[in-house]
Symmetry: C2
Subunit: 323 residues, 2 copies
């Protein structure tokens, strides 16, 4: 890659912490925010790591994000909560709201938290990895600035609204799903633009609403297509999933939904109308042992049938290794 | 359509009830099962209504489904439960398990129920419509007999694993999403086969794993493709969603997962290995007022700005209608 240089993760982490501290973000919050960015870089999701630090810097610089937000639980039941992020960094609000979902899961089996008045929270995957550390199934969603058209639409009405979910695997690797509800990630369109290469059919439309393979035609007033791309291949399904994320994250919490979600970066257009506070996230956690024993065999032992026992005893006899 | 005839819904409902009663299904359960079938026919999802009655008939006839199952809650927390359906009709087990999810949501904000030892439950949409009637957000998923290949696979490993979710709309129409996690519904492939027409690229592969537009090539040992179809368009995302449904419905409950899900109809292949009990469902319900007031303006009144009030007073003066 052009002029690339390798940096030690610690150095980028420290730099990020100091940048956040520079704007008055409290030490512990700055470290949390830097940890979320680092998780993206360490997982190889380069678009969401320090490559985004300048966008956070811009928003803090302009005072569009509160470095010392008052984060409050505005409503709760034993298994749910609505959190107001006080217009803080999503990188700080997100981990706190996610922790509430996980606490509730530990208490009553499941926890679900919808968040308003927050900002871009980094990779959705970070939050479900946090759930894995507590042996919980984790969910994370967020709405984002409009980039995507509904199936058969010509205008940007929804964000790339990602869904992440992770299942702990005990001795197996965990299952981690972290996906935008679009046919392709926006980053891939930017990569094609920089390379002067076309994009596949099914990723985007131009400003007139026609299918395009020109990345510039999407970026210049066009729109991305939902997962499924067209009617034949189920574009209405990707659209439905994006709406689901939007409603759970923003309508349910009182954040700006659909085309009214405020932008994450300077270059993005600011909606002329506000219908709520900030953007929205949605976190969920499910305790596995609320449904099924995962560790039956660890606790109660591994049942073996007679012929297998005979075989092991035979090995034991022939080798002298006691069974 | 060939030799089609129109029937009054009541007549088909009564016929269905009598068919289930014929096999000893209790009256109230038979009516529930017939109601779920009728919901599909009334919504125009013809493939899942009385068009499937013969399959249920076959399975009851062969004793593969218990007409009088013992349905038990095998584990629960305040917001979750695992239900064993006693190998009953999914059309009976599903509504009971869904009702438990809704009760829990009313009690503690959310309710989540994973179900094992059950059978085909009709349209996923039925269950989320039940949630709408109680002003709840509803979710319903189920795993199904293998028909779908993972992205880049050549073998059937997963079912069409649908996801349904519904959001109440207060005075607006509700949002109801009910979608298989495949590029297209299996019914569409059968329709193309009967018509001798090709299917679009991206729906299916043949038995050798190659992309095909021949519906027979899919049906005869081929496989359906997940939503997104190929790598470029996000086929890994549809695959991920199908896995999510499979884990929540079957792994979490102790049902047969993935390629081991038993068949719904006679013509389908019976897996050689069993790794759990029956197929699995997953139901969820979220109370809206656990997150946000939906009826603030109904209760507290509608705030009007001065100029609007002046205009209304002017109309009142000129018409004599008191405001």
């Amino acid at each position: 890659m052009e002029n690339s240089k390798v940096f030690p993760p610690e150095q980028l982490f420290d730099f990020s912490v100091r940048v956040f501290r520079h704007f008055g973000v409290p030490e512990i919050d700055a470290r949390t925010a830097a940890t979320v960015l680092q998780a993206a870089d360490l997982r190889g999701i380069d678009s969401h790591g320090v490559a985004r630090l300048h966008s956070y810097f811009d928003m803090l610089q302009l005072g569009r994000i509160d470095p010392r937000p008052e984060i409050t639980i505005v409503r709760e039941t034993p298994s749910t909560a609505t959190v107001d992020g006080g217009n803080g960094l999503g990188l700080v609000v997100g981990p706190k709201a996610n922790a509430i979902a996980m606490e509730k899961a530990l208490a009553v089996g499941s926890g679900w938290v919808s968040v308003r008045n927050t900002n871009h929270y980094g990779i959705a995957g970070y939050y479900v990895l946090q759930a894995l550390e507590r042996d919980l199934i984790g969910w994370a969603m967020t709405n984002t600035t409009k980039l995507v058209t509904p199936l058969w639409g010509a205008e940007r009405m929804l964000g790339t609204n990602p869904i992440a979910i992770a299942f702990p695997g005990l001795e197996e690797p965990p299952i981690v799903i972290d996906m935008a509800t679009t046919a392709a990630a926006y980053g891939k369109i930017e990569i094609a633009r920089r390379a002067g290469a076309p994009i596949p059919t099914g990723w985007a439309i131009d400003r007139a609403g026609a299918s395009t393979t020109d990345p510039n035609a999407m970026i210049d007033g066009g729109a991305m297509l939902p997962l499924g791309s067209d009617r034949d291949r189920g574009g209405h399904k990707g659209y439905g999933l994006a709406v689901m994320v939007d409603v759970l994250s923003a309508v349910l919490s009182g954040a700006n939904w659909g085309p009214f979600a405020p932008p994450f970066a300077l270059r993005q257009e600011i909606p002329t109308r506000s219908v709520g506070k900030g953007i929205g996230h949605f976190f969920g956690a499910l305790r596995i042992d609320a449904f099924i024993d995962k560790v039956i065999r660890r606790r109660e032992g591994i049942p073996l049938v007679g012929p297998v026992i005979d075989e092991l005893l035979d090995i034991s006899r022939q080798t002298g290794i006691p069974l």
